[in-house]
Assembly symmetry: C2
Homo-oligomer: 361 residues x 2
Amino acid sequence: MSQRKASGDVGRATIRDVAERAGVSVASVSRVLSGNYPVSEELRRRVMKVVGDLDYVTNAHARSLAGGGTPTVAILINNITGAAFAHVAKGVEGAATLRGWLSLVGTTGDDPERELALVNLMRQQGVAAVVLLGGAYDFDEYQLRMAGFARSLDAAGSHLVLVGRPPLEGDVPATTVDYDNEGGAYAMASHLLSAGHRRVLVLPGHSELTTAQGRLRGAQRAFEAYGVPFDPGMVRHGPYDYEHGYEAVEDTLKEGVDFTAVLAGTDVVAAGAMQALRAAGLRVPEDVSIVGYDDIPLASQLTPQLTTVHVPYEEMGRVALRAVADRREGGGTGRRNDGDHLVLGTHVVVRNSVRPPARRD
Amino acid sequence: MSQRKASGDVGRATIRDVAERAGVSVASVSRVLSGNYPVSEELRRRVMKVVGDLDYVTNAHARSLAGGGTPTVAILINNITGAAFAHVAKGVEGAATLRGWLSLVGTTGDDPERELALVNLMRQQGVAAVVLLGGAYDFDEYQLRMAGFARSLDAAGSHLVLVGRPPLEGDVPATTVDYDNEGGAYAMASHLLSAGHRRVLVLPGHSELTTAQGRLRGAQRAFEAYGVPFDPGMVRHGPYDYEHGYEAVEDTLKEGVDFTAVLAGTDVVAAGAMQALRAAGLRVPEDVSIVGYDDIPLASQLTPQLTTVHVPYEEMGRVALRAVADRREGGGTGRRNDGDHLVLGTHVVVRNSVRPPARRD
DNA sequence: TTGAAAGCGCTACCAT
DNA sequence: ATGGTAGCGCTTTCAA
């Protein structure tokens, strides 16, 4: 154990250690390991033997610096704990692995400062792409902020991918992978309306969240299409969490407002709403119908199983990675093309949480 | 846009670009940016100005190679979609961010090949530590495999951390962060027994999974303590998923086996069991009581809310990171000490899914 | 087919 | 307080 450098070095073995021990040049070792160059069987054998003995692995940083290196995607997510985005991450991860790419996951905790810090951190890492997940808050600053990210990343040879958010305006170097958010809400609301529901409590989410806005718009359009007046008083905004679903229903009930169905912004909100209804002695779906959005596993695990909108999260992740990989291999010119905005379909999954209203109003 | 090298280089700006443009030396720029060295206000101003203009960020790979670099933890997880491990990951992430560390998440999909590939990949990345999450399959090979990982990582100046798994035997350079798995099961089963339940359907998980083994052992010990004979026929093994919970209960019911309570290996399994009971016309907890394990958010979102064992997943993540960070800063000698095996407590969270059995047998 | 050597972008040491 | 410069470990010409 003294073939390391004079100092009591505890660091990893280097390519030089391997070369010396195998009695060959550093270049040869590199060639054997990269495998992208013809080498004699004898050389390969000797090198691999030493690599095994020393349990050597190449230093990814050095390799990166010198030009080689594994392409890496960074996934930036608000909260790793959210089921929907975990599925997108899974999709990205899976597709990345398939191509031998590496993937990084960073969490922003909904903090713009941290988001910026992470984007820069990823830029430092020289990642091939940064994937930003989830609905965005539609503040004025948002477009500018994202455009800034897109340009910074682009200038560094990287690329910004927005998943589950509306595309950026203008000629910004970014790719968007979206789903038919509004269409899903339209279909979901229509399902409720065609079952005969007229008074429905709508819990679209935070009013500034782009996904919530789209879901609300979809619902409104459905009401219009059915010629049913849409009552803004039946809309309650709030975060996409269980507590909000619970409290919104609880409060609405307390106020004596009448409704026969709940159109929740997400499955988790629906779960909270369901619980509150039950706590108030109401049965689902006999007394009140409920529908969700997302179709995460929870939806089919609730009792009754939740009718909801299926969003192809995992596929979005796969598509997102494919988009950046293609652009990379295609030697993109940097010019935008139609592939820069992909939108995937959504559809209603009918389960057991909807029934025609018991009474008409 | 021609201050780049002669070639039509599209790459990122380098420290040299900044130095030239600011009319200072490369060393000075490095000092300003690292901030760990005294520099004149004038210098700092000029450098930062150019950094802003060029939107420059340091190349993390180069920095790493040269000795600096952000410490990175790698989190290896079977399935990013599992709620429990997502919480551990969150804990690690949070603690890492707090210290300015970076974290990587890789998924193995339960595939040993992929696990090995990822460990090596992380070794290449020169990560400060590799955190392996979740119960392990107790095959003979397992101890050897992990010991191998531990030594490889250690030789590379990295470190292996096992979270939620039993510690490695012998003098292996690894840290284990565990929770009182068996104790939690003991307490949970005792809760059921003291409520009067005697015929309990036990769904501990896969028989080779270490966590399942511990949970089963805990339950058995509780039965012994209560002087109640433990019927092995009431144990059904299977994966930690909703479907298994559903099918196990469905089958048991079909076989006409009598039971007044279900001791599920995880909350998700409990959710499946609950659904199956309900599908069979049985009420929870009036007819059958159910308890889970993990205390993920789902537990309190079920109806009735699930009595379960709380496992401090997020804290385990934090503790795991703290352990490696301390060892790093403490300039550990490499010798094992008591801090190499940390075990956190668990406790029963009483909700509404347990009631004394309606009838005795 | 193999070896020698010039960098990749940065940090840290040694001068000044 | 600032500048010059020798590597960090690897890939990749260019020669042999």
